[in-house]
């Protein structure tokens, strides 16, 4: 399983770290009641994806580092997402005077 790696840290270690970070982010996304914390959990999940991309880029594609390009694009989209998400959050807060996710239930069936 780990017989063919050259460096001290195998590819699998980075992938396991990314998987753990992603699952923590999913749990936080489901269970947060503060809307700001939901956005933070999304950032955690994006970072987990970035760790995976960078690990693959370094270990399997060391010549043409396409994973790094993808990570740069993910960082760009994450910045745009954070800006728009927080603007939506401010607008929601102005209308409902709360950040509790359980009370944003106007469209709930």
């Amino acid at each position: 399983m780990l017989e063919s790696f050259s460096g001290p840290v195998p590819l699998q270690a980075y992938l396991l770290l990314g998987a753990s970070l992603f699952c923590i982010g999913v749990w936080g996304l489901i269970n947060s009641r503060n809307a700001v914390r939901v956005l933070m959990s999304i950032e955690l999940m994006l970072n987990a994806v970035n760790i995976n991309l960078m690990a693959f880029s370094s270990f399997l594609d060391g010549d043409l580092i396409r994973g790094q390009i993808f990570a740069v694009f993910v960082i760009t989209v994450a910045a745009a997402e954070a800006a728009v998400g927080l603007a939506i959050l401010l607008s929601l807060y102005r209308n409902r005077v709360t950040v509790d996710m359980e009370r944003f239930n106007l469209l709930k069936w």
Binding site: S4, F5, S6, G7, P8, V9, L11, Q12, L15, L16, L17, L21, F22, C23, V26, W27, G28, I30, N31, R33, V36, R37, L39, M40, S41, E43, L44, N47, N50, M54, A55, S57, S58, F59, L60, G62, D63, Q68, I69, A71, V72, F73, I75, T76, V77, A78, A79, A80, A83, V84, L86, A87, L89, L90, S91, R94, N95, R96, E102, L106
Partner: protein, 200 residues
């Protein structure tokens, strides 16, 4: 094991420890301000992992964009919506937490299994190391030119959208035509548009 190898291993273990504990703190801590600062720590640790993977440009971008922009934005949002409110207890919240933790653990086990049983075609081509920044520039202006330009358009759209969503003033007269406009559905100063009738 040579000293450089053991140094790299120790760095990886410390950074992974910081990432996991920090992200657990982000989702579990009660005070949202602590969560925001821990999130900054997690971003810095992830930048350290990028340095271990020979990607100095992406590590610098991570520090600049995530720690410098996104984290500061989150802190500003916390400051703007900073009202101490005691959340109403919800029936079955504890059960929901345990159920979702079980589902997330199942997902984690599934991903661990995939990672560990897949025969990765290692070792790949030799890493180019410090030439990575030059290679990223070549990629961005040759075969990834269209996504690069689209990203700039996306950032412009996000900027305008954020300003439009978060601004407070109301214009009653259209700037271009001089006619009256009705923006009451977009926003009304002072009066909450969507009054929560369930609590009052």
């Amino acid at each position: 094991m040579s000293i450089s190898n053991s140094t790299e291993l120790i760095c990886f273990l410390v950074l992974a420890f910081v990432v996991i504990l920090g992200s657990l703190g982000v989702v579990l801590l009660g005070n949202i301000v602590y969560s925001a600062f821990l999130l900054g720590g997690v971003f810095m640790a992830v930048a350290g992992l990028y340095l271990l993977l020979n990607a100095s440009f992406v590590a610098a971008a991570q520090v600049l964009v995530y720690v410098g922009a996104v984290n500061v934005l989150i802190l500003f949002a916390i400051m703007l919506v900073n009202k101490r409110e005691d959340l109403k207890p919800i029936p079955g919240l504890q059960l929901r937490r345990f159920l979702s933790a079980g589902i997330c653990l199942g997902l984690l086990v599934l991903m661990f299994r995939v990672v560990l049983i897949t025969p990765w075609s290692l070792p790949g081509p030799a890493a180019i190391g410090e030439g990575a920044t030059v290679r990223i520039g070549e990629h961005l202006f040759t075969d990834y030119l269209l996504p690069f330009e689209l990203a700039s358009v996306l950032l412009l759209m996000a900027m305008i959208g954020a300003i439009v969503l978060a601004r407070r003033d109301i214009q009653t007269v259209d700037v271009g035509t001089g006619n009256e406009v009705n923006q009451s559905l977009i926003e009304k100063a002072g009066t909450p548009l969507l009054v929560d009738k369930t609590t009052t």
